[in-house]
């Protein structure tokens, strides 16, 4: 009687494995927000993947006869002060951005899930040590922390990824730990313990599978954040070093010419916005798909 209300709250479909297999079929296409995300990413990813085959200039190729040309048929986004094609450079920059975004999300998820589970499940001294370190990291804004770390580790793709990940991992540990703490006291953990299931069994069969869905949502938001931070670092000259293109340093290149050649900065800026918006829609869509309460 009293528990009937919880029946509606209990996950409607899922099972992590099932939801993944059913995902593509009914899920992503059936959800409005996920459809928007797909509408943004499918063209962007296709163009990026096939960029070398497109009839455009290579990203590093200069053309001194076509400097700072406004958008036209040959140069859809125009050219910069060295006559490089902005479309080509943007597509190449997107590749960097997405690589950074997803690497950071994966690293943060991996460390977050492992350390968060250990801290939440075992508690005690281990928890105290992990959480103290986490709290210290969380005291700094992530951009500031990333700048500091890049200053120590140097610039370039790998240090940037490491710096941003280090700034994001603590949040994931906290999130995972809080979910583990509430799962740990659920009756089904007791049920498994009555058959003397090992700690490893409890963590891998019951706890981690039940936390993956929300962690993925957090992961896709973090990917968007990481892309913005990478762009910011590159804009400040601390990230990807020119001449290699990244969305951040293309904008930096155009910043000085904003009045004469607005297209250099503006168009790549729009792309960053699109990617960030797309990832947020994706995370919203994933959350709605995995949350039984908002499903029809």
């Amino acid at each position: 009687m009293a528990d009937q209300s919880t029946e509606f709250l209990a996950p409607r479909s899922t099972g992590w494995r099932m939801s993944m297999s059913g995902f593509a079929k009914s899920g992503l296409l059936g959800n409005f927000k996920a459809r928007i995300a797909l509408a943004i990413f499918v063209p962007i990813l296709t163009l990026t993947a096939f960029a070398p085959l497109l009839p455009i200039q290579a990203p590093l190729e200069t053309n001194l006869f076509a400097m700072m040309k406004p958008p036209s048929i040959e140069h859809i986004f125009g050219t910069d002060k060295m006559g490089r094609d902005i479309v080509s450079r943007t597509l190449s920059g997107i590749k960097v951005s997405l690589f950074v975004g997803f690497s950071v999300a994966l690293i943060a998820l991996a460390f977050g899930i492992v350390l968060g589970t250990l801290a939440g499940f075992f508690g005690g001294m281990l928890d105290r040590i992990i959480m103290t370190v986490v709290d210290i990291f969380l005291a700094f804004p992530s951009l500031l922390l990333a700048i500091g770390l890049v200053a120590v580790m140097g610039t370039g793709l790998v240090p940037v990824i490491m710096a941003i990940s280090l700034a994001d991992v603590p949040r994931f540990i906290r999130l995972q730990r809080s979910m583990v703490l509430s799962l740990r006291s659920r009756a089904f953990i007791d049920a498994a313990r009555t058959v003397k299931a090992s700690q490893y069994w409890l963590m891998t069969r019951h706890i981690v599978p039940d936390t993956v869905a929300p962690m993925l949502v957090a992961g896709s938001i973090t990917a968007a954040n990481a892309i913005l931070i990478e762009a910011s670092l590159s804009f400040l000259g601390l990230g990807i070093m020119p001449p290699a293109p990244s969305l951040g340093n293309i904008i930096r290149d155009g910043q000085a010419y904003l009045e004469q050649a607005w297209w250099i900065s503006t168009l790549p800026g729009r792309v960053i916005l699109m990617i960030a918006v797309g990832l947020h829609f994706l995370s919203d869509g994933v959350r709605e798909l995995l949350d039984p309460r908002s499903r029809s």
């Binding site: 996950p11 479909s13 099972g15 089904f188 007791d190 313990r193 009555t194 058959v195 069969r205 039940d210």
Partner: protein
């Protein structure tokens, strides 16, 4: 003729009320044409299982339905005015002023960040037009009336500073303080312990009759109905299927549903070796309202007409009506046919085998110590289990009863090894497994039934995948399910099916002892008997010993061979189940068994309802002498000083009271 007078005198006249929940997955018809009349000062009980529409009906009356529920038809006449046509503002003046409400869970219906005074005084000022000081005096008077000690001071308390019973008293005081003509009480005692329930029921009864208010009392507990109501409405699948005076309903029920339901309750007469009659199946899914009578699939008297045409409520006696094509419902012999025959005869075990002890608990203690980090000197110790000694023999069932907080669930956790005892020993021959109270939370919601039952086997790495699946199928058959369940998720099963799966999981490793902590309290009344029968079958078939923990004393008595009564972490009485219940030796056992409402108004009328006063003392601050001395009606100076030990009483029993003899 009688109808005419009834209409004139009626306080509340509900005509053909319809309520729907328009959810995304379809329209649920929660209330499907309900009509009834409440006269001034009358107490009407509405009984039904979860999903029968009883709460939706009550909430519809004052338009308190949560989204997406809405009233789609009918009239609700309160003193001749149609509440259905009123504006929200007009209704607000009715709510509280003319109709008071008491809900199930006082913690969620009281504002947790507001003092009681803040929640009580304003409505009284508004509704009775008193000044603040007068309203405050009025509020204190009502708190005093509902039995809140030191009301003048307690009115400034926050809800979290009170116990559940106290909070429910506050709710009742709030509902009655504006002198309503009608009180709607939706399962007001379901969340409370049986002794507190008895107090609250008496209180509601006394105060409403004192104020001349009518009451609509919603419950699933037929015992309470017998104790409480003048007239009874039985709801099933959104309709009233039987309506009549309480005596008539219990003496000569006419609808097969209530007839079978009354027969399924482990009552005064049918405990012991008999099996309980059971109602097959589960209530219909109201997203797809059944054609014809909603009860036909579960009814032994169903015939062709029931499948085509739904019966409507028609008069059987002067004031007694039922909705069934059969004039008198099921015949006696048909009801007897609902008693299922046991699947297997009990194994005739050699008596020596049965004498073997499988559980031995000696001097068991579990203390929870908490010491604040910044004030280690303020260390507090809660003695959840405080020195108990128990034996359970093979094939026996031990029932443990007591109020919440008495330590019975801690004993279960200690038996299962989920917690380590502070002191004492537990010897168990073989394996202990557990059947949980609420299988909705004891299953990982992301695992299928097959994986859930297989888990114990997989943990122990018994057999390969194929062999384990064969064992899972065998277990499912044993608990009365078939293998269509294998691929389902727990939320796709009904409550009864989930509890069967939980039992199957507990049996997977062939345990010698199964601990069942409130295994039927989350289930519907009509399904409860199925599970109790299943447990007694398994006990007979497999020779498993059960430890059965519950607050439903009638069920415990029915299923147990021996009973241990716990109070504040100690056993105060132990003995054969019938002995302990029929001739309780400890005043606490007597109070417990007196507090249990018996589903028979004739019996209820003869009982003296003098509910146990007071509440469980805080386990932080135990009385010095007998732990029960603070509530005992026969307490003496000796009880306050000297703690009675559990001693032998009439050879086969034990009791901890100075004055047992």
């Amino acid at each position: 003729m009688t109808y005419q007078t009834a209409v004139e005198a009626a306080l509340l006249d509900v005509r053909d009320l319809r309520t729907e929940f328009r959810t995304k997955s379809g329209t649920v018809t929660a209330v499907d044409g309900v009509s009834f009349v409440i006269e001034a000062g009358e107490r009407i009980a509405v009984v039904g299982e979860s999903g029968s529409g009883k709460s939706a009906m009550a909430m519809s009356l004052l338009r308190l339905l949560a989204y997406p529920g809405q009233v789609v038809g009918g009239e609700i006449l309160l003193n001749g005015r149609d509440l259905g046509r009123m504006t929200e503002k007009q209704l607000t003046s009715i709510r509280g002023r003319e109709v008071g409400t008491v809900f199930q869970d006082p913690m969620s219906s009281l504002d947790p960040v507001m003092r009681v005074s803040g929640q009580m005084i304003a409505p009284i000022m508004r509704n009775l037009g008193l000044s603040r000081a007068q309203a405050r005096a009025e509020a204190v008077k009502w708190l005093d009336k509902v039995g809140i000690p030191d009301a003048e001071r307690r009115i400034e308390a926050f809800p979290f500073e009170m116990s559940d019973g106290m909070r429910q008293r506050v709710m009742i005081a709030m509902a009655l303080s504006c002198k309503p003509r009608l009180v709607i009480a939706d399962e007001p005692t379901t969340a409370l312990d049986v002794t507190i329930q008895a107090q609250i029921v008496e209180l509601l009864k006394d105060l409403t009759s004192e104020a001349g208010a009518a009451m609509l009392f919603i419950t699933h507990d037929l015992g309470l109905v017998a104790r409480f109501a003048h007239r009874v409405a039985v709801m099933y699948a959104g309709r009233i299927v039987e309506f009549g005076p309480v005596g008539e309903i219990f003496r000569a029920p006419r609808h097969p549903y209530i007839q079978s339901l009354l027969a399924t309750i482990p009552g005064v007469g049918n405990h012991g070796q008999d099996r309980l009659p059971q109602i097959p199946g589960t209530p219909p899914d109201m997203r797809h309202p059944p054609k014809g009578c909603a009860f036909k699939e579960r009814c032994l008297g169903a015939h062709a007409r029931c499948h085509d045409e739904a019966p409507t409520l028609s008069l059987r006696d002067t004031a007694h009506s039922a909705a069934c094509w059969l004039p008198a419902g099921l015949e006696k012999q048909m009801l007897a046919a609902t008693v299922p025959t046991p699947k297997a005869m009990p194994l005739a075990k050699a008596s020596r085998e049965r004498q073997r002890t499988v559980i031995e608990i000696n001097n068991l203690h579990k203390h929870f110590v908490s010491s604040p980090v910044f004030a280690p000197s303020r260390r507090t110790v809660v003695r959840a289990v405080n020195g108990i000694k128990l034996r359970v023999r093979k094939g026996d069932t031990l029932g443990i009863v007591g109020e919440s907080g008495c330590g019975k669930s801690t004993v279960a956790r200690l038996l299962l090894g989920l917690d380590a005892p502070t002191e004492g020993e537990i010897f168990i021959e073989g394996l202990v497994q557990m059947v949980f109270q609420d299988p909705a939370s004891s299953f990982n919601p992301k695992m299928k039934v097959s994986a859930l039952i297989e888990e114990p086997l997989a943990v122990k790495a018994l057999g390969n995948k194929v062999e384990r699946l064969a064992r899972v199928t065998e277990l499912l058959t044993q608990v009365g399910l078939d293998d269509t369940c294998l691929d389902r998720y727990p939320h796709q099963l009904s409550g009864g099916q989930r509890q069967r799966v939980d039992i199957a999981r507990a049996l997977a490793l062939n345990p010698s002892v199964v601990v069942a902590d409130e295994p039927t309290s989350a289930l519907d009344v009509s399904v409860r008997a199925q599970i109790i029968n299943l447990l007694s079958d398994l006990k007979a078939e497999l020779g498993i010993s059960f430890v059965f923990i519950a607050h439903d004393l009638l069920t415990v008595r029915y299923i147990s061979d021996h009973i241990a009564v716990m109070y504040l972490g100690e056993i105060v009485e132990y003995g054969p189940a019938d002995e302990v219940f029929d001739r309780p030796a400890h005043p606490y056992t007597r109070a417990l068994s007196d507090a249990v409402p018996i589903p028979d108004p004739a019996v209820e009328k003869l009982r003296t309802n003098a509910p146990l006063r007071g509440e469980l003392p805080s386990p932080l601050d135990l009385p010095k002498g007998c732990p029960f001395s603070s509530r005992c009606p026969m307490v003496t100076a000796r009880c306050r000083e000297e703690k009675p030990m559990l001693h032998e009483y009439r050879k086969i029993r034990q009791v901890a009271c100075h004055y047992a003899d």
